[in-house]
C-alpha cells in the first residue's frame, strides 16, 4: 500500500504540493485528478522519493525518505512519456532496467510479452510509436512483478489507438490485483480504472471522492473544450468547479466533463459569471467502465 502523511513540497515560494495525506489500500486504484499545475506530478515524484519533500510517505511499509531504493523496488513507475536514450535498442533498454532490479533475461522477455512487444526487440527506442513506448515503460515497470504501479498521465501524449493499447493493459493489471496510483485528466480513464479520486487544485487535495460520485451518469459523459481568453481561464475553472464540473486546463482551452444532455450547462454557468466563451468543441465521448476491456 501507499501512505502519504502531510506531504508538502515547495519550490522557492511556490508550494507545489500542500499538506497532502492519503492511504491507498492493496489492490485499489487511486486517480490523482486536476488541471495542469495542480501538483499531481510533483506528488508522484515525492511519493517515489525522487525529490526531497516535507512530511512522510511509504510504499509497502517502506519509508521512501530513509530507504528510497528499497521503497522504489516495490513499485513500478510509468512516466508521461518514456524518456530513454533513443538510440538504444528495445532489448538492450529493458535488459538494463532488468539488471537494476536483479532480474534476468527471462523476466525481460516475459515483461515484453505481457505488454505485447515481443518481436520488436531489435527496434530502436526512437522508432517506436508513442503507444509502443508507453507499453515499453509498462514492461519496465512490470519487470519484477511489483504489486504497486505508479503512473503519471500514461496516456496523455498518445493518440486514440495508443490510449486504447495502454488502457487495455492497465485494466488487465487492475483485474490481477495490482495497486494503481495514477495521475490523469481523462475522465474515461479514471472511470474505467479508479476506485477513488483525489481531486487536486493548486497543490491541495480538495476532494477525495469516487468516479460514481464525480460522474453520476458516467455512460452519458461528454468532454467539451471551451475556448476563452487566457486571462479568464483560471477564473472560469473555479466557477465551473464550484458548479460541480470536472475541469482541467491544458493550455489548449478548458476541458470540461458534462452530461451529454446538458452540454450547454458550463456555458450558462460562465455566462452568469460574466465570462465570455469564444468557442466550444466536442471532444470525444467517454466509454462506460462496462464497455472498457
Amino acid at each position: 500500500m501507499i501512505i502519504a502523511e502531510h506531504v508538502t513540497k515547495s519550490f522557492g515560494r511556490t508550494t507545489a504540493v500542500d499538506d497532502i495525506s492519503f492511504e491507498l489500500q492493496p489492490g485499489c486504484a487511486l486517480a490523482l485528478w486536476g488541471s495542469n499545475g495542480a501538483g499531481k506530478t510533483t506528488l508522484i515524484r515525492c511519493l517515489l522519493g525522487v525529490i526531497r519533500f516535507q512530511g512522510r510517505a511509504s510504499i509497502g511499509g517502506v519509508d521512501v525518505k530513509r530507504r528510497g531504493r528499497q521503497a522504489r523496488s516495490l513499485a513500478g513507475y510509468v512516466p508521461q512519456e518514456l524518456a530513454f536514450h533513443d538510440d538504444a535498442r528495445l532489448d538492450a533498454a529493458i535488459l538494463f532496467f532488468a539488471s537494476l532490479r536483479r532480474m534476468d533475461k527471462h523476466a525481460a522477455k516475459t515483461a515484453l510479452d505481457t505488454v505485447g512487444l515481443t518481436g520488436h526487440e531489435r527496434k530502436r527506442v526512437r522508432d517506436l510509436s508513442g503507444g509502443m513506448k508507453q507499453r515499453l515503460a509498462l514492461a519496465i515497470a512490470l519487470l519484477s512483478d511489483p504489486a504497486i504501479i505508479v503512473l503519471d498521465e500514461p496516456t496523455s501524449n498518445l493518440d486514440a489507438a495508443g490510449r486504447g493499447e495502454v488502457s487495455e493493459t492497465l485494466a488487465r493489471l487492475k483485474q490481477c490485483g495490482k495497486t494503481l496510483l495514477f495521475a490523469s485528466h481523462r475522465p474515461d480513464e479514471v472511470i474505467a480504472l479508479a476506485d477513488r479520486i483525489l481531486v487536486m487544485d493548486q497543490g491541495k487535495a480538495i476532494q477525495d471522492t469516487t468516479p460514481s460520485e464525480m460522474w453520476p451518469n458516467e455512460s452519458g459523459v461528454q468532454m467539451i473544450r471551451l475556448h476563452l481568453t487566457m486571462a479568464s481561464e483560471s477564473d472560469a475553472a473555479k466557477v465551473l468547479r464550484d458548479a460541480g464540473h470536472a475541469v482541467h486546463l491544458n493550455g489548449h482551452g478548458l476541458c470540461v466533463a458534462v452530461s451529454r444532455d446538458r452540454k450547454a450547462a458550463p456555458i450558462h454557468a460562465l455566462s452568469r459569471a460574466d465570462i465570455e466563451v469564444r468557442d466550444m468543441e466536442l471532444i470525444e465521448g467517454i466509454s462506460s467502465p462496462e464497455a472498457s476491456p
Partner: protein, 293 residues
C-alpha cells in the same frame, strides 16, 4: 500478448541490486553509450592521429633508436596531451548529468530502485573507463609505431606517461561531472567546461607570470600556486618520471627538486588525486542535495 499473472500479494519482494552492482550496471551502460557516441570516436581518432604524427616527427628528428625514440616522443606528446586530454575529459563529464536532465531521462533513472550516488558513480566510472580506452588506443598505436621503428628500450617511460595521462583525464572528468551536476542545461555545462579548460591551459600560466611580476612573488609561492593547477602537476610528474631534471622549468623547477627531492613525485600524485576526489565528492554531495531531475 500474454495474460498477466494474478498477484494478490501486498508488496513484491525487494528487487534491487547491491550498491556496487547498481554502480556496475550504470558504468557498463555509460561505457557502451560512450563507445557509440560521436565525441568518443572523434576524440579517439584525433588523439590517435596526433599521437602517431608526433611519434613519427620525434623519430625523424633523432634518427636514432631505443630510449631516444620513446623519450623524445614522451616530451613531444606532453604538450599535445595537456591541450587535448583535459578537453576530452571535461566535455565528456559536463555532458553526463546535465544531458540526462535535459533529455528528461534522469527522472526516469532515479525513479528506479537506485540511489543518486549509484547513478553518479556509475556514470563517472563508465566515462572514466571509456576515456582510458580512448587514450590507451592512441598511445598503443603510437607505441607500436615507435617499437617498430626504434625498438622497445625506454618503453617504461611511455607506459608511465599513459598511466599519468589516464590519471589526468579522470581528474578532469571529476571537474566536468561537478560542473554537470551544478548546471541545468548541457549547453551551459559545456560552456563552463570550456571556460575551465581555457583557464587551466592558458590563463593560469599567464596569470602566474603576471602575478610573479606584479606582486614579486617568491619562488616557493610561484611553485605552490603552479602546482595547484592539475595540468602543471601532471607536467612536472611526467618530467620527473622521464628522469629529467626539473631545471628545464627554470628556478621554480630547481627549487622543487632541491626542496622536495624524492618526495616531489608523491606530492604531485597527491595533487592529482585531490583533483580527482574533491570535485567528485562535492559533485556527489551536490547531486544528493539538489531537487532537480
Amino acid at each position: 500478448m500474454s495474460a498477466i499473472a494474478p498477484t494478490a500479494k501486498l508488496a513484491g519482494t525487494h528487487r534491487h541490486r547491491s550498491f556496487f552492482g547498481g554502480v556496475y550496471s550504470f558504468a557498463r551502460r555509460e561505457f557502451r553509450d560512450a563507445l557509440s557516441s560521436r565525441w568518443f570516436v572523434l576524440y579517439t581518432v584525433s588523439f590517435t592521429i596526433l599521437a602517431v604524427t608526433v611519434s613519427f616527427m620525434s623519430l625523424s628528428g633523432v634518427g636514432s633508436h631505443g630510449f631516444a625514440g620513446f623519450g623524445r616522443t614522451t616530451a613531444g606528446l606532453l604538450n599535445l596531451i595537456m591541450l587535448v586530454v583535459p578537453l576530452m575529459a571535461l566535455v565528456a563529464g559536463t555532458g553526463s548529468i546535465a544531458g540526462e536532465r535535459e533529455r528528461g531521462t534522469l527522472l526516469y533513472l532515479l525513479a528506479q530502485p537506485v540511489s543518486r550516488t549509484q547513478v553518479l558513480l556509475g556514470k563517472y566510472l563508465g566515462l572514466g573507463v571509456a576515456l582510458a580506452c580512448s587514450l590507451c588506443l592512441g598511445f598503443g598505436i603510437s607505441a607500436m609505431v615507435l617499437a617498430w621503428r626504434a625498438g622497445s628500450v625506454g618503453i617504461s617511460t611511455f607506459v608511465m606517461l599513459t598511466a599519468l595521462t589516464c590519471a589526468l583525464s579522470i581528474s578532469m572528468l571529476s571537474i566536468g561531472i561537478l560542473i554537470s551536476v551544478l548546471s541545468r542545461r548541457t549547453g551551459v555545462a559545456t560552456g563552463i567546461g570550456l571556460f575551465v579548460w581555457l583557464i587551466l591551459v592558458f590563463v593560469s600560466d599567464l596569470g602566474l607570470m603576471a602575478g610573479t611580476v606584479l606582486f614579486k612573488l617568491r619562488v616557493q609561492e610561484v611553485f605552490a600556486l603552479g602546482v595547484l593547477n592539475p595540468l602543471q602537476a601532471f607536467k612536472m610528474s611526467v618530467i620527473v618520471n622521464m628522469n629529467a631534471s626539473l631545471d628545464v622549468l627554470g628556478p621554480v623547477g630547481m627549487y622543487a627538486t632541491q626542496t622536495y627531492g624524492d618526495a616531489l613525485i608523491w606530492m604531485l600524485a597527491l595533487v592529482l588525486t585531490a583533483w580527482t576526489i574533491l570535485p567528485l565528492a562535492v559533485a556527489t554531495f551536490a547531486f544528493l542535495r539538489r531537487n532537480s531531475v
